[in-house]
């Protein structure tokens, strides 16, 4: 059974903005951005859709890599980028709305990161 064909294109961090611009200029909408921890690296997927054709851009980064924000092209991207920061500790440069780590309240700082912090007893998260 096949629900839909989903294309995933790996890109370098330095080429991300240019590739996202191509999607924006092509009339695609941003569906979502998500981050996954895979071994020692993070995979970040940027998903787009146009007329039910679903495409992904994927960057693979190590911890402490700073990635550029795409909120200049897709204004609503700030919600996903803040989420990536708060759950994985990914640093995103140039977000149009930066919650500075306060979008999600978690007991453990960066709970999905490769090395999550240990909660201190009695300390307010």
């Amino acid at each position: 059974m096949t629900l839909e064909i989903q294309e995933t294109v790996p890109v370098e961090v330095g080429n991300l903005i240019g590739k996202v611009e191509e999607f924006r200029d092509g009339g695609y909408r941003l569906v979502q951005i998500n981050c996954s921890k895979v071994g020692d690296v993070y995979e970040i997927n940027y998903s787009f859709d146009k007329d039910y054709v679903f495409k992904n851009l994927r960057i693979t980064v190590i911890a402490d890599t700073e990635i550029p924000s795409i909120s200049g092209m897709y204004w609503g991207a700030f919600i996903y980028e803040n989420e990536m920061h708060d759950l994985f500790g990914i640093r995103v440069k140039g977000m149009n709305i930066d919650f500075k780590g306060h979008l999600f309240t978690t007991a453990v700082k960066f709970p999905f990161s490769i090395a999550p912090s240990t909660p201190v007893k009695g300390e307010k998260p």
Binding site: M1, T2, L3, E4, Q6, R29, L30, V31, Q32, N34, S36, K37, V38, N45, S47, Y52, F54, N56, Y74, W75, G76, F78, I79, Y80, D86, I97, F99, H102, L103, F104, T105, T106, P111, F112
Partner: protein, 359 residues
Amino acid sequence: MTKQIIVPFGPQHPVLPEPIHLDLVLEDERVVDAIPSIGYIHRGFEKLVEKREYTEYVYIAERTCGICSFIHGATYCQGIEQIMNIDVPERAQFLRVIWSEYSRLHSHLLWLGLFADSFGFENLFMNAWRIRERILDVMEQTTGGRVIQGSCKIGGVRKDISNEKLDEMRRDLNSIENEIKNLTTVFLQDDSIKHRLRNVGKLSKEDAYHLGAAGPTARGSGVAIDLRKTGYGAYGKLNFQLVTDSCGDCYGRCAVRAKELFTSIDLIRQSIQKIPDGSIDVKVTGAPNGEFFARAEQPRGELVHYIKGNGTKFLIRSRIRTPTLTNIPPLVRMLQGCELADVPVIVLSIDPCISCTER
């Protein structure tokens, strides 16, 4: 220059069933900007994939939301079935559509009631929820659960609906449809409701598309996107027209949901007519090795379950992108330029489900 002040809205507010906070930047009574904050009820659902086997995670996925729980479970199952190349029996596919559309009826009626309550129309609120009880009764009779159904599983469904019960459901739909006609006539034609909702919380078609609006929030601005049109499950075998409205205001979003009730009833009728006999599940062995973005149309819009497995019983990643999350940026745009007194109605017009959003 008019002095700007910031008025906090939420996280506790009579119109909000769940907590979201907005810093409203005001010039006199006019909102010039809104800065959203969530994070009050983050539950860490996605982290549980590390501790629950992929077959058990269906129950977790269902509990993401207390309104469209069945669709969460079904979408997660679709993703796993795609990765593992499992052919779900046709009867199970139709049963999933039937329960999904009952979930949509339940969700839209719940929202219409809450929306009426937000502008003080208590009688309409009670009538919407009275009809909703009939929908929940059917869910309970066919699955055993009013809110959490637990009837979906990887490879099919756990429970069948007898053909006699399907006939009874089809007959009941006639009287439910009549009651909904009376209800939606008030929503769509009452002058006081039109006066309250017209030109409030405007969102242009271009903004709705580029800001990533989903579901009735997008369709209420004329953006014709509905994932059911991709034909997942048994939707490819059913005919239906998208409901859109070009107004882009609170009335438009209300009208879309009101009219979609009839689409759901029609889809259930078609499913009951076309559902074949046969098995309702297949045996599943092994573990998922691969990734997929499973997409489905929830009552609030496009739902994405990203699933990534490595061939073990524990997934590497489950990521749930709910429609409310993607409807927050459009909400911010709707609020810019509105009157302070309109904020509660506008916030409710996207049908926010914050528990879903924070996961």
